[in-house]
Amino acid sequence: MTMTPRSPVAVLARWWFAPAPAERLAALRMLIGGYAFVYLWIRFGELLAVTRFPATQWRAVGVTRLLDGPLAPTVMLVIVVVTMVLLAAFVLGLQYRIVAPLAALGLLWVTSYRNSWGMVFHTENLMVLHVIALACMPAADRWALGRPPGEAAAGYGWCIKLLVVLMVATYVLAGIAKLRIAGLGWIDGELLRNQIAIDNLRKALLGGSIAPLATQFLEHPSAFTVFCVLTLALELGAPITLLGGWPARLWVLAVWGFHVGVIFLMNIWFLYPLVGAAFWPVLRVERPFASLFGRVARWRDPRRAA
């Protein structure tokens, strides 16, 4: 069977492998890898605190199911530190083909371990998926330490699209889950209002901070119908980002606003989208790096500036 230029597979392949600059993928390697490094840095104390929980709290999830029980605190300390070192090398592009898969595996292990103590957080999934995906890509063909620029035979456009598709998939899955669990009745607002009320009550009873606008909106249940419609529209409308251009940027802005709204109503911080990391693959993130590296090159070699 031959593939004609107009066959759906050929059209899909042309779109999927449409060229994109290697610098964009390199910038995403540095940004997303850098985010993961900082994330572990900030959470360092908490990652180690869980190792001191009683073993009775242990509920293995994901890859940690390989274990019979929790690891010794010192073993986990070593794994976290090694993962951070690997992520630093990941950002720099050092020995990328070896380092990147190890860094991704380390990150998957560390975050899975943290989630194995009674509560699965949904704020880290996309970060881990993005780092795993980057580890499978030729993301160190530019701006990598100790390595000359390379050229991937399949180009770099598919890599950027894959990162976008993974982001889109997580939002679409969240939308589908609401419809599978609650049906279209989810948009009547009562369910979301109750979720927000219960979530804030739990925080209040445990001495956490309740969301700044929660109590005001709980008195006006009809507002939640609007929130529900907007939430489902944004989640199920995520594939619009695959069009690129202004529709993608508009969606990103709207979803970012949605996450800000979640802070005001639930005080839940989805840091990865809030700092923009989830959406970097949609943007031309190579530009600030190109500008910065150009300036550095001119500073080191003034003849170039002339």
């Binding site: 699965v120 880290e124 890509m137 609650a182 709980l218």
Partner: protein
């Protein structure tokens, strides 16, 4: 990397990310999640266990970090598991919390810890300032040197 290898990587990663669609929504996982949060129907009534600090001016809520985790939901899991096991386990949790309170200046007014199970309506509690009822599960003193 060739186009064939790129296509294989793409299909595997997209397939894995979408694979939770083949599972029941309640069968959550990590990092391949069904993302079921905020989708379940639930009443505004909540029965939950939590520690209270006893002070001269009445009870005060503590903090997730004092319970054992800076994450609220993980702190909740710590208390719920101890209460579910009861007896010695809940008494030990009370002592651990009391020991942390004893060394935390902002809880200097707390003289004892009570671990309680409360039945509250979330809207009444948050909007109308009308808490429900609480049952004591364990109590212990805060011993300062």
């Amino acid at each position: 990397m060739t186009r064939v290898a790129a296509a294989v990587v793409s299909v595997v990663l997209i397939g894995a990310t979408l694979s939770p669609l083949a599972r029941k929504p309640a069968d959550d996982g990590y990092p391949l999640s069904t993302y079921p949060m905020f989708a379940w129907r639930r009443p505004t009534k909540l029965t939950m266990s939590y520690p209270l600090g006893v002070t001269a001016r009445g009870p005060r809520y503590l903090s997730p970090g004092i319970i054992g985790s800076f994450e609220v939901l993980q702190a909740r899991a710590i208390v719920e598991r101890a209460v579910a096991k009861g007896g010695k386990e809940v008494a030990m949790l009370c002592e651990r919390i009391a020991a942390r309170v004893a060394t935390t200046p902002r809880f200097a007014d707390v003289t004892a810890i009570r671990i309680v199970t409360g039945n509250h309506d979330a809207v009444d509690f948050l909007v109308r300032d009308a808490p429900g009822i609480e049952y004591e599960r364990a109590a212990c003193e805060v011993r300062r040197r």
